[in-house]
C-alpha cells in the first residue's frame, strides 16, 4: 500500500490528523464542504472602536438578516450568534435530518465547529480515559504536541489534579478585574469552599496566545472574541489548515460533500463518492486509506450510507453522546458599582471543578465574567419592562457573569443514529434519537446546588429562575457511535482508530470515544487524531 490517505473534514481532528500524516511523509487529499467567512475588519480596533469605525455597525454586529439579534424564546441564551460566523452552520442545499430529543448542529466551514469554539483545552486524565483502550500515558505526548502547535495558556493550580499538566503551557492571559476578584476570594476561602462544596477553582486553559508567536501576535484584549479573533491570537483549526497548504503532498478539494464510500468485493474501501456543491455532480475519488474526520454525526452518516449502498442493510448505530450544559448567571455583590474595562478578553478566564469520589465524574465549569458583549439578550431576560431592566443591567453590569456547566455522558444503547429513507434511498436523512439517563435531573440539581453554594462563598448570588439547562446537542461535543475498544466487535474501532468493519478506514474524530467526560473534548480530539495518524505510519 502506498502512503496516501484521503481525509474527510477540515475540523480540529481533520487538520491535526492531516498535519501529522504529512509530516510523516504521507500524501494527503482533504475533502471538505469548506465554507469560509468574511475576512476580519479593523484588526486593531476594540469592540467600541469597531462600532465607531464601521460604516454599518448594525449589519456587522447584528447581521443583514438580524442573525445576531436575540429575541425572547423559550431558550435563555445570553449571547447572540455572531453574523460573521454564520457560514459555519450554513448547510448545503438538500441537507436534512430528523432528530428526537436532540438539537444537533452541523458545521460546514473550513475549520469545522472549532471555528466558533471558546478555546478551552482540557486534557482527559486516567480516570476519564478508563473506558478508552489506552491511558493518559499514551495520549500525553500528543497533548504536548498539540499544545506546541496551537499555543495553550494556563497555570498549574488547584485544577491541575483534574486536568493533567502538559508541556508547552504558556503563561496565563491577564485577568479582568472581576475574574481577578473572584480568584482572590477563592484563594482566601478555598479550604472552606473545597470542604463544604467540593469545588476547586483556577485558571482556564485556553488556546489563546499570551506571548507572540510567528504569524500570531499575543492577545490584544480587544473584546471581540465572539465575533472572531481578528488577529488569530485565539486558535482555530483554519490556522493549521494554512500550514497544511504549505506541504507539497497536500491536496484540498473544497466545495465537496462526501456522501458514501464504495467497497470492493473483499470489503475494502476503494473510492469515496461526493457531491460537488457548485455543479451538483457526483464525483468519485479513489481511496487507499480513508480517514473520516467530519465530526461524529457526519462521519456516522457516511458510514451508514455506505453500508446501505453496499449491502442494502439499514444499520442503527448506538452510543451517541453529548455534554449536557447548564448556563448559570450570577451577580457578584462585591463588584456592584465598579467600572467595566473597555478592553478585555471576552471568553472564560476561570474554571471551577466540582469534584467527586469517582474522579471520572468530575464536572468542569467555565466562568465568564461579563465584559464586552451585546447586552440586549440579558436585558430582556430580566423580569421587568425593558427600560427598567436596562437600568438594572447598567447598574449591575460589572458584577455579572455566567457559569457554563458541563455534564458527562456515557455510551448507551438507546441513543442512536440511523438513516431515514422516507425521501427515497437516494436522499437518506440522518435520524438522531436521544434520551437522557433517568438520573439526569437529580445529578443536575445536585451539581447546581453545589455550584450555587460555591458561588455564594465567593460573594455571588444566582438570581432565581435565571439558570438554564440547554437542550441536548447544544454543546456540540458529540461523541460515541463507533467506539475504540480492545475487544473486537462489529461497529467498533481498534485502539489505533482503525475500523474493524473496513480495514482501510480510520475514524479520526469523536465518533470513537467510548466515554464523554464533563469537559470540552476538542483538545483531546486533536491529540487523539494526531496520535492515530502517527500510528497509521506503522
Amino acid at each position: 500500500m502506498s502512503r496516501r490517505v484521503l481525509v474527510v473534514g477540515s475540523g480540529p481532528s481533520g487538520v491535526h490528523f492531516a498535519l501529522t500524516a504529512l509530516r510523516r511523509g504521507f500524501e494527503v487529499t482533504m475533502v471538505d464542504v469548506g465554507r469560509r467567512g468574511p475576512p476580519p475588519v479593523f484588526p486593531d480596533a476594540t469592540f467600541d472602536q469597531l462600532k465607531e469605525r464601521l460604516d454599518d455597525p448594525a449589519r456587522y454586529l447584528l447581521g443583514a438578516d438580524l442573525e445576531g439579534l436575540v429575541l425572547p424564546t423559550r431558550e435563555k441564551e445570553y449571547y447572540g450568534f455572531p453574523p460573521g460566523k454564520q457560514h459555519v452552520f450554513a448547510s448545503p442545499p438538500g441537507f436534512d435530518y430528523l432528530a428526537q430529543g436532540f438539537e444537533p448542529l452541523f458545521a460546514f466551514a473550513r475549520g469545522g465547529l472549532a471555528e466558533v469554539w471558546t478555546a478551552g483545552c482540557y486534557p482527559f486524565n486516567d480516570a476519564e480515559l478508563d473506558a478508552f483502550p489506552f491511558g493518559f500515558g499514551d495520549l500525553s505526548p500528543w497533548y504536548d504536541e498539540i499544545a506546541d502547535r496551537i499555543g495553550v495558556t494556563g497555570e498549574v493550580d488547584d485544577l491541575a489534579p483534574f486536568m493533567p499538566v502538559h508541556a508547552h503551557l504558556l503563561p496565563p492571559l491577564a485577568l479582568d478585574p472581576h475574574s481577578a476578584g473572584l480568584l482572590e476570594v477563592y484563594q482566601r476561602k478555598k479550604s472552606r469552599i473545597q470542604r463544604t462544596c467540593g469545588a476547586v477553582m483556577g485558571r482556564s486553559r485556553v488556546a489563546t496566545l499570551s506571548v507572540d508567536r510567528p504569524g500570531r501576535p499575543k492577545c490584544g484584549y480587544l473584546g471581540r472574541c465572539l465575533w472572531g479573533c481578528p488577529t488569530d491570537s485565539l486558535y482555530t483549526p483554519s490556522q493549521t489548515f494554512r500550514e497544511l497548504e504549505r506541504f507539497e503532498g497536500f491536496r484540498y478539494l473544497p466545495d465537496l460533500e462526501a456522501l458514501y464510500f464504495r467497497l470492493d468485493p473483499g470489503g475494502t474501501i476503494q473510492s469515496i463518492v461526493g457531491r460537488s456543491l457548485s455543479t451538483g455532480e457526483h464525483l468519485e475519488l479513489p481511496v487507499e486509506r480513508l480517514a473520516l474526520a467530519a465530526g461524529t454525526l457526519a462521519s456516522a452518516k457516511i458510514v451508514l450510507r455506505s453500508v446501505l449502498v453496499a449491502t442494502g442493510e439499514a444499520v442503527t448505530l448506538p452510543g451517541l453522546m453529548d455534554n449536557r450544559q447548564a448556563l448559570v448567571p450570577f451577580l457578584n455583590l462585591r463588584r456592584l458599582g465598579r467600572p467595566v474595562p473597555e478592553t478585555s478578553y471576552q471568553y472564560h478566564l476561570l474554571g471551577m471543578g466540582l469534584t467527586s469520589p469517582n474522579p471520572a465524574e468530575y464536572i468542569h465549569c467555565q466562568i465568564s465574567t461579563l465584559k464586552t458583549a451585546l447586552i440586549h439578550p440579558i436585558v430582556h431576560a430580566l423580569p421587568f419592562d425593558i427600560r427598567t431592566a436596562l437600568a438594572i443591567t447598567r447598574a449591575t453590569r460589572a458584577a455579572l457573569g455566567v457559569v457554563n456547566v458541563n455534564f458527562l455522558d456515557t455510551w448507551r444503547e438507546e441513543n442512536t443514529l440511523s438513516l431515514d429513507l422516507g425521501s427515497g434511498p437516494d436522499r437518506p436523512r440522518l435520524r438522531i434519537a436521544y434520551r437522557p439517563p433517568d438520573d439526569e435531573p437529580v445529578r443536575i440539581r445536585a451539581a447546581l446546588g453545589r455550584l450555587r453554594r460555591a458561588l455564594r462563598q465567593l460573594g455571588c448570588v444566582v438570581p432565581p429562575g435565571m439558570a438554564y439547562i440547554r437542550p441536548m446537542g447544544a454543546s456540540v461535543h458529540y461523541a460515541g457511535i463507533l467506539p475504540m475498544s480492545r475487544a473486537p466487535g462489529r461497529w467498533t474501532t481498534t485502539p489505533e482508530g482503525r475500523s474493524r468493519d473496513f480495514p482501510n478506514l480510520f475514524l479520526a474524530d469523536g465518533s470513537t470515544f467510548p466515554f464523554l467526560p464533563a469537559k470540552n473534548l476538542t483538545f483531546t480530539l486533536m491529540a487523539n487524531a494526531a496520535r492515530l495518524a502517527a500510528m497509521m505510519h506503522d
Binding site: 454586529l61 439579534l69 436575540v70 425572547p72 427598567t388 447598574a395 460589572a398
Partner: protein, 147 residues
C-alpha cells in the same frame, strides 16, 4: 415617505426615547426600517399584537406600560420584539451605544438602593400594565377561542 415608513419612524422615535435621550439619527431610523423589510421577525402573531403596538406608538410612557404588561403575559409579543430591536440597534450605534452598554459607577450602597428603587418601579409598571391591558388581552383571547 411611505405610510409604512412614517409609522416605523414614529415607532423608532417613540421606543428609542426609552433608552437614550438623543433623538434617533437617520442611520438608526433607516436600520430600524430595514430590519422590517428583511425578515419576518416582526409580524404580528395574534390580534392583541397590533392593538398593543398601536397604543404603544402613542407615547413612550404607554409603550413602557405595555412592555411591563407584556413581559409577563405576552413575552414574545410584537411590541417587545420591536423594543428589543431598538435596544439592539442603540447598543451598536454611535453615539448612542454608551447609553445602553455603559455602567453606572457609584458606591455599592447607592447602587443597592437604586436597584431596590428600580425594582419597585418595575413592579409598579407591571401592575399598572396589568390593570390597563389585562382585560382587553383577556377579551381578545376569549374571542379568539370562539368557534
Amino acid at each position: 415617505m411611505s405610510g409604512d415608513r412614517a409609522l416605523l419612524d414614529l415607532e423608532c422615535r417613540t421606543f428609542a426615547r426609552l433608552f437614550t435621550r438623543t433623538p434617533p439619527n437617520d442611520y438608526l431610523l433607516g436600520s430600524y426600517a430595514e430590519a422590517h423589510r428583511n425578515t419576518g421577525k416582526f409580524d404580528p402573531t395574534d390580534r392583541f399584537d397590533p392593538w398593543l403596538l398601536r397604543l404603544a406608538r402613542s407615547g413612550s410612557a404607554v409603550a413602557r406600560l405595555g412592555d411591563g404588561y407584556a413581559r409577563f403575559f405576552a413575552p414574545r409579543s410584537l411590541l417587545r420584539r420591536k423594543l428589543i430591536l431598538v435596544l439592539s440597534l442603540v447598543e451598536v450605534t454611535p453615539p448612542y451605544y454608551h447609553d445602553a452598554d455603559g455602567t453606572a459607577s457609584s458606591s455599592r450602597v447607592r447602587i443597592i438602593v437604586a436597584l431596590a428603587f428600580r425594582g419597585l418601579v418595575g413592579v409598579a409598571i407591571a401592575g399598572l400594565g396589568l390593570i390597563a391591558f389585562g382585560p382587553v388581552h383577556l377579551v381578545v383571547r376569549m374571542a379568539g377561542r370562539r368557534p
